[in-house]
């Protein structure tokens, strides 16, 4: 089950003849895939550091929330003691958005944005690194395949799309969720993705690189991919993506990354899956409330997603965005006006096929007997229930056993089947 998409399970093999390097370089063997039509473009936004979901999507109907977060709680939507701009934005009478997430309200009210609350993974390590690793690999325990869940989705579905931009990691490194046999390129900027210098010399260098990367080793495949991306992006023409990049994205790495995603979608260069990170959520200290450290991160997140939503509104039925984080934070605040590592969190799904405009939750409650472990929100919906449903209904991939090998997902009705 795991070997088909598990890069680390492939043994290095050393062939007799070597193409582009000395004989001591490792070689890799490859594997086939199944066939099917392609579905939505999938974008996964990972909030690194365990985002405090209780302050993102505030359970304002929960008295305990205000009792155990005397300094950090976001005021109720109708709390007249707080300034209007500091109150939570009511969604359904029980939950409300952090005021810095206000830019997401249009998408929510258009039915394109759903929140899944008290959602997360079974892992109880409260370790960022173990939790992220398991979540990005889509596993319950570390003994499963080393590849990422998005990579296994791509590897288990041959859509007939062999674009070098089928899978793209925004930023400097490829996220674990995208690692595996389908090579993903790390892309920081479309416009900067070319080798400078004299064009003739550069062309010769690229021709030489094509020779050097002709081998059957793991890196050569990435090298050929990189050359193909260079060629594809050069073919786009610089003036064309200037015109595509006009929406009002925040002036941040995250906003910049989302602009690249939108441009690749608009340019129809074969993008099927992209991953982008937003870091800084490990708010043990000075987290802030309606304003402050975390509010700034939320503003970046919300403005970016709102801009993407507006930019791609004509293609919204072919787009699914997931926003997730490795776990939630402790229900009670600590003495340094922050929160420690917790358990249950939340997950956002944005796109035209989303059962949006609502908060999907089996709310476990926040009273002492209802909290989990050292005082954390319990998990009542496994994050893989949501991801599996997206794979099945939005990405046309039925091979859930290959994608989530040690878990049997429960479909929760968070997205609709593609039309």
């Amino acid at each position: 089950m795991n070997s088909a998409a598990d890069c680390e399970a492939c043994r290095w093999v050393v062939p007799a003849a070597t193409a582009g390097g000395p004989a001591w370089m490792p070689r890799l063997a490859f594997h086939p895939a199944n066939r099917g039509p392609r579905g939505d473009v999938l974008l996964v936004v990972f909030l690194r550091g365990a985002a405090d979901s209780l302050n993102m999507v505030v359970p304002h109907g929960e008295d305990a929330y205000y009792r155990i977060r005397p300094s950090l709680a976001i005021p109720r939507p109708n709390d007249r003691r707080a300034g209007a701009a500091l109150r939570s934005l009511d969604l359904d009478g029980f939950f409300g958005l952090h005021p810095a997430l206000a830019p997401l309200l249009p998408a929510y009210h258009a039915g394109h944005l759903a929140v899944v609350h008290a959602c997360g993974a079974p892992d109880e390590s409260r370790s960022h690194f173990q939790a992220m690793e398991l979540m990005e690999r889509g596993l319950t325990n570390l003994h499963g395949p080393a590849s990422g869940w998005i990579s296994r989705h791509l590897a288990s579905l041959d859509t007939g799309n062999y674009s070098p931009l089928r899978a793209v990691a925004l930023g400097e490194r490829v996220q674990r969720s995208l690692r595996g046999v389908v090579p993903a390129s790390a892309l920081q900027s479309i416009t900067d993705y070319h080798l400078g210098g004299d064009p003739q010399a550069t062309a010769r260098l690229q021709a030489a690189l094509a020779t050097l990367y002709a081998g059957n080793d793991p890196l050569s495949e990435v090298g050929r991919e990189t050359l193909a991306v260079l060629e594809t992006l050069a073919g786009l023409g610089a003036d064309r993506y200037d015109s595509l990049l006009e929406a009002h994205y925040p002036d941040s790495d995250f906003g910049m990354g989302l602009r690249q995603v939108a441009a690749l979608v608009q340019a129809e260069v074969g993008l099927e899956a992209a991953a982008i990170d937003l870091g800084g959520w490990d708010t043990h200290f000075g987290q802030g409330s309606s304003e402050g450290l975390m509010a700034g991160l939320l503003a970046d997140l919300a403005q970016g997603l709102a801009a993407l939503h507006a930019d791609l509104i004509n293609r919204i039925d072919d787009l699914t965005v997931v926003v997730m984080s490795e776990f939630g934070r402790r229900a009670a605040e600590n003495a340094s006006l922050g929160t420690d590592h917790g358990h249950g969190g939340s997950l956002f799904v944005l796109g035209g096929g989303t059962e949006g405009g609502k908060v999907h939750a089996q709310w476990p409650g926040m009273e002492p007997g209802q909290l989990f472990g050292p005082g954390d929100l319990a998990v009542t919906i496994d994050y893989r229930d949501v991801l599996a449903e997206i794979c099945l209904r939005r990405l046309n991939n039925e091979a859930l056993g290959a994608i989530f090998p040690d878990y049997s997902p429960v479909l929760r009705g968070i997205v609709r089947p593609r039309a």
Binding site: G20, P26, H128, F129, R204, P374
Partner: protein, 490 residues
């Protein structure tokens, strides 16, 4: 593979090239790697090249010669005793960086950007120019293990002190001393929020990473309750912010006076000594030895090798038997692991190794400044700015997708396009007596890959690059070699 005498002499000439630069050459470049006999490595010992390639930031010809003369085992023995190795080039390269010697209170008065820039430059220059390559490799290993980002609060100046007093001082010493120094390091306490760890509601951040990342490992047998109790022990461990700014302080008013229980042992109230007693236990805990052996073995060996688990167990056992000596663990990994390998399997270079190996093996003159650091940022490994406490990863899968950023560096370096970094390609090729483009290509292959590029790639690359105007040819060939798959491994 044997080399002909003609090539032998060319390579010997390359060694001398380092000492023949003009009057504007900085002082440290004139102190040549003078070694009398360039003889034996020229017999084409690619195995020795591969081992040195793994254990250095890119072996210089001088290092290759020395290892050929005294043998790889003896070369490792020398490196294991860095104090015995004179290091004028390493020392001179960082001498202009005056902030590296200052205390926290003085550093705090500097411009932030200058302090951070000198810290980054210092690390890069030492990796490129120091003879104590193994020491620098261990400095990097512990910098990652006890990761601190200068982006967090006062770490922008506290890290310089941590780098000197914690990491560099104990990199090849006893792990207990290293852990002790790190736990008392203001930079660490700020980075992981312990300076705000107050008895009224403890902050678990440092306590957790101390157990999970620094000592026992995530499967090392601790529970959430141990994290919370350790956080209580650490309440009041903080940093002075006025008088004696940037010094460690134990604030008894913040400390939780109650009894605690960590890892099954009751801890009676004893103020600062409570956490210190746990730190002593953690340093010698068997799970710590295994966790460190696991990480350190992977730093030097491809983890997919069958013998790695056995090597890890032996490295951990040697470490414990020695009372926590880092050298004891290293001896097993390097002498029984790396050097004893008849056919060393390469490891994928992390960006820092890719960059330093280009600079080092080509005998480049660099100030380690902004343009080089910017390339490292694009490759995803900015020095001292890794945000999360796990430090930059040490596995190929994390880095291979960023090939394009490496090609950019290769092209910039080969064309001499980085301000503050000077590559004297002509001098190098002159020393190698490379008359034709083919000669140049082979000499550069010897220098960077330990041997000329194998056929048919050699001829094909020459053919594709060959038609450019004469003077551009070597630079393009060099860019190709630096950007080639083979140069991404070591």
């Amino acid at each position: 593979m044997t080399m002909e005498r003609r090539e032998f002499l060319k390579l010997a000439g390359l060694v001398a090239a380092g000492a023949t630069f003009s009057a504007c050459t900085p002082a440290y470049r004139i102190i040549a790697d003078s070694l009398e006999s360039p003889a034996k490595w020229l017999e084409g010992d690619t195995r020795a090249f591969r081992i040195l390639n793994r254990l250095t930031y890119g072996p210089t010809l001088a290092e290759r010669q020395l290892a050929a003369v005294i043998g790889v085992q003896a070369w490792i023995e020398e490196q294991l005793d860095p104090a015995s190795l004179p290091d004028p080039r390493g020392d001179l390269s960082v001498r202009p960086l005056t902030s590296l010697t200052l205390d926290a209170a003085d550093l705090a008065a500097w411009e932030r950007d200058d302090v951070v820039a000198e810290l980054k430059r210092g690390a890069l220059l030492r990796r490129v120019y120091s003879h104590r390559q193994l020491h620098e490799t261990l400095v990097e290993f512990w910098t990652d293990h006890f990761n601190i980002s200068v982006e967090k609060g006062a770490c922008w100046y506290l890290k310089t002190v941590d780098d000197r007093q914690v990491i560099r001082r104990h990199a090849l010493g006893n792990f207990r001393d290293l852990l002790w120094a790190s736990a008392h390091s203001p930079a660490m306490l700020v980075y992981l929020d312990n300076q705000a760890n107050d008895r009224r509601a403890p902050n678990e951040n440092y306590a957790r990473e101390l157990l999970e990342l620094h000592t026992l490992g995530v499967d090392g047998g601790y529970a959430q309750a141990d994290v919370m109790e350790m956080a209580r022990c650490l309440t009041g461990w903080t940093v002075k912010d006025r008088f004696w700014r940037g010094q460690f302080a134990f604030q008894s008013g913040m400390h939780d006076e109650g009894a605690k229980k960590v890892l099954g042992a009751l801890i009676e109230p004893a103020g600062q000594a409570e956490a210190e007693s746990v730190i002593e236990r953690l340093a010698v805990h068997p799970a710590t030895a295994l966790h460190l052996a696991h990480k350190l073995t992977r730093r030097f060996l491809d983890p997919s090798l069958d013998r790695v688990p056995e090597l890890e167990r032996r490295a951990a056992a040697a470490f414990q038997a020695s009372g926590g000596e880092i050298e004891a663990m290293l001896r097993v990994i390097l002498l029984d692991g790396v050097a004893a390998d008849p056919d060393p399997t390469p490891k994928f270079k992390r960006p820092i190794n890719f960059v330093t190996s280009g600079l080092r093996m080509l005998q480049t003159t660099t100030n380690g400044g902004r343009p080089v650091q910017d390339h490292l940022n694009h490759m995803g490994q900015p020095l001292f700015e890794w945000p999360t406490p796990d430090g930059p990863p040490d596995e190929m899968a994390s880095w291979q997708g960023g090939l394009f950023a490496r090609w950019e560096f290769a092209y910039d370096l080969a064309r001499n396009e980085m301000e503050g970094t000077e590559l004297s390609l002509k001098e190098l090729l002159k020393a190698a007596q490379a008359e034709t483009l083919e000669d140049a290509f082979d000499a550069l292959g010897n220098l960077l890959l330990g041997a000329p590029l194998p056929e048919p790639a050699r001829t094909e690359v020459l053919r594709r690059i060959g038609k450019v105007p004469e003077h551009d040819g070597p630079a393009l060939l060099l860019a190709g070699l630096l950007a080639s798959p083979a140069f991404q491994w070591h």
